[in-house]
Subunit: 403 residues, 2 copies
C-alpha cells in the first residue's frame, strides 16, 4: 500500500511500441485481457485484432490476418505482460505509438496507446476503413512525434498533480477526463510553441479537439500506481481488473494469476439510435483506473457523469461513500471536493469485497459491432472472481504462476 500511495507517475515520452516495450516483436498483436484461443474472440475485439494486423502490414486483408493468427504466424500477447495497458480491444502492434509513463524513483513503468484522432469510430473499437487508417497515420507520423518532442523538451510531465487538479474540476478520470485534457493541453502549450516542430499544428489540433485523450494517460498512470504495489506475498489488495471480450478478471498483489468471472450486465445510457441490445463487450483494461481509486470509485468528483446515469447526484455520493468499505485507505493527493476533500477510496481489498459482498463500481463505455462507441454507464465488478482468488489462495502466492 505504501508503494502505491507513494507512486509518482510521470509522462516521459511517446514512442513506437516496438521500441518501447520489452519483448515486443513485429509479428505480435497485444490485446486487452488474458490471451484466449483465437476461436474465443468475437465481435469488436476480434475485428480489432484482424484490422490491427492489416494496419501493421502483417496480412493483406482481415481474413488472411485471422488465418495467420490461427496458424501461429501472428502472435497474441496480453498488454500487461509487456508493460502496457489496453483500452477497449487494447490492440497494439509494433508501430503503435505509446505514451511512456514511469515513476522516476522506482523505475516502474506503464505504456498505453494514444486515443485515436477523430470520432467514436476507431480501431480500438473494431472499426477500420480508409478514414480510420488515415487518422491512425496522422497519429503515428505527426501527432505522436510532435507531442513526444514537447514532452521531452518539458523534461517530463508529472501526472499526479494534473490528476489531482482534474478531480477538482469535475473529472473522475475514467469516463470523464475532459478537465485533465485541458490541463494537459495548457501544460504543453509553451513547450509546443517553443519547439517549432514541423507537425506542431497537427499536435495542437489533436490536443484541442480530442476531448477524451487523457483517458490513456489516466490508464497508464493508474497502472504505474497499482503495479507499484504488485508482488507482495500474502496481500489481498487488488492490483488489476481487466476484461477480454469473454470474461472479467482480477489479480491480487500476492500472485500473478488472473481470476475470471462472467462479464457484468451493461447499464447506462445510449447514444441516439442505439440501445443496450447493441452492446458487445470488447474487452478493456481501463478499469485499472478503478484499482487506483478513480473512475467508478470516484463518481462523486464528477457530477456531469449524470449524463450517463439514472438517479441523482445524491445517489452518486451515496454509492461513492459505500465504496470506502472495500478499501484499505484513501489517497491523500487525489481528493473529492464534494466529499469535503476526502481522498478517493484507495487499495481495494478482495477480503473486504468478499466480506461485504460489495464489489468495485466501474465506469465504462460501450461499443457495438462495426459502429464504435454506442453509449456509456457503470457496472459492478462480478463478485465471483474476488472470492475465487481468495479461495485459490492467490494472496499467499501458493498458486503463483509467474514472477
Amino acid at each position: 500500500m505504501q508503494r502505491m500511495l507513494e507512486a509518482q507517475p510521470v509522462l516521459v515520452d511517446v514512442l513506437p511500441a516496438g521500441e518501447a516495450l520489452d519483448g515486443m516483436t513485429p509479428d505480435t498483436v497485444l490485446v486487452a485481457g488474458p490471451v484466449m484461443a483465437p476461436g474465443e474472440y468475437h465481435g469488436p475485439q476480434r475485428d480489432a485484432i484482424r484490422y490491427a494486423a492489416v494496419h501493421e502490414g502483417l496480412a493483406p486483408d482481415p481474413d488472411q490476418a485471422w488465418e495467420r493468427l490461427v496458424a501461429g504466424k501472428i502472435k497474441l500477447g496480453h498488454t500487461l505482460d509487456y508493460g502496457c495497458v489496453g483500452s477497449t480491444a487494447g490492440v497494439h502492434t509494433f508501430s503503435t505509438p505509446v505514451y511512456r509513463v514511469e515513476d522516476p524513483a522506482t523505475g516502474v513503468r506503464a505504456h498505453c496507446g494514444m486515443y485515436e484522432f477523430g470520432t467514436r469510430r476507431g480501431l480500438s473499437l473494431g472499426v477500420y476503413d480508409d478514414e480510420v487508417r488515415d487518422r491512425l497515420h496522422r497519429l503515428e507520423e505527426e501527432v505522436a512525434p510532435a507531442i513526444g518532442a514537447a514532452v521531452r523538451a518539458a523534461g517530463g510531465i508529472p501526472l499526479l498533480p494534473m490528476m489531482s487538479r482534474a478531480l477538482r474540476m469535475g473529472d473522475e478520470l475514467h469516463s470523464r477526463t475532459l478537465a485533465a485534457a485541458h490541463v494537459l493541453a495548457r501544460t504543453l502549450m509553451a513547450p509546443l510553441a517553443d519547439l517549432g516542430h514541423p507537425h506542431r499544428r497537427t499536435a495542437i489540433e489533436y490536443l484541442t479537439t480530442i476531448d477524451p485523450l487523457f483517458l490513456r494517460l489516466s490508464m497508464a498512470a493508474a497502472t504505474v500506481i497499482v503495479t507499484s504495489g504488485h508482488g507482495v506475498p500474502g496481500s489481498t489488495v487488488v492490483t488489476g481488473m481487466v476484461m477480454n471480450c469473454r470474461r472479467f478478471h482480477v489479480r491480487l498483489a500476492g500472485s500473478d494469476r488472473w481470476f475470471a468471472a462472467p462479464l457484468p450486465e451493461p447499464r447506462g445510457r445510449f447514444f441516439p439510435g442505439f440501445s443496450v441490445d447493441d452492446v458487445v463487450w470488447t474487452g478493456g483494461e481501463s478499469c485499472m483506473t478503478e484499482c487506483a481509486g478513480l473512475g467508478g470509485m470516484a463518481q462523486a468528483a464528477a457530477p456531469a457523469l449524470l449524463d450517463y446515469h439514472d438517479g441523482d447526484f445524491a445517489g452518486l455520493i451515496r454509492h461513492n461513500l459505500g465504496l470506502y468499505s472495500i478499501v484499505r485507505t484513501e489517497h491523500p493527493d487525489l481528493v473529492i471536493p464534494a466529499l469535503g476533500f476526502r481522498g478517493v477510496p484507495f487499495g481495494i481489498d478482495a477480503e473486504l469485497v468478499a466480506d461485504t459482498g460489495l464489489t468495485p463500481l466501474i465506469d465504462v463505455g460501450y461499443a457495438g459491432i462495426g459502429v464504435g462507441q454506442v453509449g456509456a454507464g457503470s457496472v459492478r465488478a462480478p463478485l465471483a472472481c474476488f472470492t475465487e482468488a481468495l479461495a485459490a489462495g492467490a494472496a499467499t502466492g501458493a498458486d503463483a504462476t509467474g514472477a
Copy 2:
C-alpha cells in the same frame, strides 16, 4: 428577460481603454461603484485610484495624484457609465488594456480590464511598487497585444459555450474560474501558435500561469447579458449589483438609479497570517456575475469552493436551491450538473427578494491594506437596497435619472 436569455457575449478584441470606451479621456480614472466625493474613498480603493493615476502618468506621486483629484484635474468616472465593469477597486485609466465583449446580434457591449499578471498583490487591490508596475507594463505592452491579435485571428471567441462547459467542470464563474481559464487557453492555443506574434511567448506564459484570468471575461460576459435586459419600464428585475468601498448598490431594469445599503459582514476563510480583521472593502463589480445567475447563485456547480466555506456540499446545494425562489427563470445553457443539469437561477427579481426576505448570495474575495488578497468567502447582499428600490418606484421609472 428574453433579451437576457438570448444574449450571446463574444470576446472580440483587447484594446486600450482610451480607444475602447466612449467618453473616456486621458485624465479620467474609472472606479467600481457609483462615484463618491474624494473624501469618502479610503483603504485599498483610495490607494488604487492614487496609484492608477501615477501609473498613467497623471501625477508624479500618489499624494500629488490625490491633490489633483481633489482639485478636479483628475476626474473619477463610474465604470458602468463607460460600458466597462471593474473588479475590486475597478480602476481603469486611458492606457489600461480591456477585453471587449459584445453580442453581435444586438451590439450590446461590455469591457473589462485584464487580470493582473502575477500574484495576489496588484493595482486593482491597491498595491503598487516596482514589481507591480513592471508586471502591468508586460500586460499592456506584450500580453494584451498578442492576445488581442489571437482573438481577432480567431474571428472572436463566443463565451457562452465556454462558460457552459466550465460550469460542468467545477466553476461557478466568479470565485472559481479555473476551468474556464483552461478552456480559454486551449481555445487560443492554435491561433497563438499560428500567429507568430513577437510577444506570443509572454501571452502563453500569461494564459498558462494566471489561474483566475477568466474572472474578467466572466464579468464582461455577465455584464453584456444583464445589460441586455436593462431599460424596461416597470421591470423589477435586478440588472446590476456593485460595490464601492462604502456601500453596496443595486439597480433594477426599470431605472438607471442605484440604491445603496451598508456593505455586508465578511464571511469566509483567510490565507495564512490573515484574519477577518484584515478585510477592508475595496469596492467591486464582480457581483454582476451573480446578476447573470453565476457565482454565489451557482455554488452547487463548484464543490471546490468548500475551500472557502464552512459546512459541506449538501449545504451548498441547499443554499443554491433556495435561490430559485428569488428569480424569474433558469438559464437553459448555463446548467449545474449536481442539480441534475438544472439551469442556474436567472433573473433576480427585487419583488421576490422583498417578498421572501432572501437576498442573492455573492462569492467574494477579500483584500487588506497594502497586501492584496487576504481570503475569500461568500456574503448575502443587503436587503435594504432592494426594498428601497421598490419603495422609490424604481421599477416604474418614475424616478429615472438617466436614459
